[in-house]
Symmetry: C2
């Protein structure tokens, strides 16, 4: 089902010096299924993280935030699927904390040095005993197995690596992510983790993660639902001989950010490509907006419209639906006569109506493709934003009507 | 497919003194299909109207607004289906105006006394010649035929009447409406028309229509798409012997408003009951909000969530999805621990988690019904709002992927 999304060869996914991966079976929802991942950090240099802005944010997200604020450092991440531990009140917080304590005992650290993550069904108690029983039995794994172990409705494990030379030194990045439904920015992914051997000061990494998230994990939407559990975490182990990055103005900061943004975009787009029921990958490219926020607002109005998304599913150039969505995006002083809309490189609309050069055949040809870019030129100023989404298919409804997670 | 929506007996739908109805066949999309409605007002007392707030508002909406502002009175409404005359630029405006001129010639009035309405596909030129050719051939009709002639993807014509005694005088109301996709407030309906023989001063009727729209046509959502053409128009012919209403504080103003609101709510709910692919009618009742706007914001977040809507379709009490939608509704200082959520009369969530009294069986029993109320108690203040919506089914996708209008 996933749109042009292949699983990388295991050898393309790099181990990161200073990071050990383990997986296990807690049998939370299914027997004989890897649903528990433990990542042990032997040497944490710095960690940057952004989390969901949903007010019903899950217990593990609340605990992870508290532990990061405690500032004692991070020695482990523990991730379960099958249950989100969200909408679980005080008991949920106690459960997440208890799992951190058990991990801490197992690897020899403080509970506040463990970050918990959960994904799965909301509003059901976490089967904490099953997780605690499975923890001592986890086995050493490689990233592809971890990418598979964090999947829920995903049909394809999502992972990517980069090796680059910066200042003559080789540095490495490996990321895994999961998510295909309940996907909307802040955060867009359910879970995304990137590990690198770069050495970078803590506040700089946090800044970089926030900036990178804005154009990657926070620029995708499948169904407009912002999940309770979304988390994007970047760990830098500092094992690379590249000198420590201590200034935002250093050229190494810029170089690392470019690689991180590129990797994060690949993972974020992989989530859209594997969007529930997706048959097409769509980029909404909004240009010449007054502000970036305005560009995103218009892009999301189009990307969220069920009518636009079903038209893409049908390969039907029913492009009035795009104009309609631009019109209700909430830009009060929008001059519709100045707007130009392109489907691929075909001019569709200008001067408030259909372009005289437009033909149904030209539109149909673009709509038949499985990767489509809609360019919306607002003709207001110089800001722009790209939003990535997929179509809305009968399979989306089938998946969400039949699946409880 | 429509949820508990039956077509009234023709005799239940009242003629309104001072209003004549005609229908015709312009063959805009389909042959042998009534797609043109002409309503002639022999004596217009007053007219109130609210229109879409979409920036790509359709040419007929722009012309209707101009004609209402002109203040020369209204003598006719002309309505076509099959083409929305939206996203049609300057030509669309000229086309809508031309149709008004032709109607004016036909019935003997000024073009500015005619209001045009269109519904159907966006971004395609209006076949104005077909409409103009059909106008002289329209035939006298009764409301049920007009209700059928304004349908697009509707499966059931929508109409309702009321007769009430006010101050000892009989007054009459008849309304028709259409819409089942591209439905979201401001305006929620594609088209709604109510006619009454009440006599009321123009500015009072406009005020009443705006107030009534807020809790009826602007309180429904099928798919979150605000159409380019939505219009809700109330015509009062003044033929009733009930004395003219000239003050908002008069008890007759209040009495008429109650009847109008009741009739408009029936029509608005009919649109949701006939929502594209709908199998369930759902009321989101938000209580104890800080403001009515806040209550509506939370109600719409839940009502628009594809995940909530597919869970209703599946009769699956996957109620964490409701909590999740409340959480991302955008209320920054929401105390999730104080919120209570009920499904029907079953307490589902409190204290940030699942209610201890909740059982899957109790939830399942409510979810199996085809009319469901979700009550969300925010425990903040005294404001409230009700939002009406339907579920999201495979049929919604099929209808919108296969149908071009």
């Amino acid at each position: 089902m996933a749109v042009n999304l292949s699983v990388p060869n295991d050898k393309q996914i790099l181990a990161i010096d200073g990071v050990q991966v383990f997986i296990g079976q807690a049998r939370i929802k299914k027997p004989k299924h890897d649903d528990l991942t433990l990542v042990v950090l032997n040497s944490v240099n710095s960690i940057g993280a952004v989390f969901t802005q949903n007010r019903f944010c899950a217990a593990p997200v609340q605990i992870a935030k508290q532990h990061l604020v405690a500032g004692t450092g991070v020695r482990a991440l523990v991730i379960n699927t099958g249950n989100a531990n969200a909408g679980t009140g005080q008991q949920g917080l106690a459960d997440a904390e208890f799992i951190c304590e058990k991990v801490a005992q197992q690897i020899g650290c403080q509970a506040s040095e463990v970050l918990p993550f959960s994904t799965g069904v909301i509003l059901e108690p976490l089967p904490v005993d099953k997780i605690v029983a499975a923890l001592p039995k986890v086995k050493v794994a490689h990233w592809p197995q971890a990418a598979a172990a964090i999947m829920t409705t995903d049909t394809v494990p999502k992972m990517a690596s980069r090796t680059v030379y910066i200042d003559g030194h080789k540095v490495h990045f490996t990321g895994i992510a999961k998510g295909s439904g309940m996907i909307h920015p802040n955060m867009a992914t359910m879970l995304g983790f990137v590990f690198t051997d770069v050495s970078i000061a803590q506040p700089l990494l946090q800044q970089m993660v926030a900036e990178v998230a804005a154009t990657t994990f926070n620029a995708i939407t499948v169904d407009g639902d912002t999940s309770t559990n979304d988390s994007f975490v970047v760990v830098a182990t500092g094992k690379s001989p590249l000198s420590r990055i201590v200034s935002m103005s250093s050229k190494n900061y810029a170089a690392v950010k470019i690689v991180l943004a590129d990797l994060a975009l690949e993972l974020a787009q992989a989530i859209v490509r594997d969007g529930e029921g997706a048959t097409k990958f769509i980029t909404i490219d909004v240009r010449h907006a007054l502000t970036e926020a305005e560009a995103r607002q218009v892009g999301y109005a189009v990307a969220r419209s069920p009518l636009v998304k079903t038209a893409f599913y049908a390969s039907d150039p029913n492009l009035g639906r795009i104009l309609c969505a631009i019109g209700y995006a909430g830009i009060a002083d929008l001059d519709v006569a100045a707007i130009k809309v392109y489907l691929g490189d075909v001019l569709v609309a200008e001067k408030g109506g259909r372009a005289s050069s437009y033909t149904e055949e030209a539109g149909q040809q673009i709509m038949a493709q499985d990767e489509i870019t809609v360019t919306i030129d607002l003709a207001r100023a110089e800001a722009q934003a790209k939003i990535y989404t997929c179509d809305l298919s009968k399979e989306y409804v089938a998946i969400n009507a039949d699946y409880r997670s």
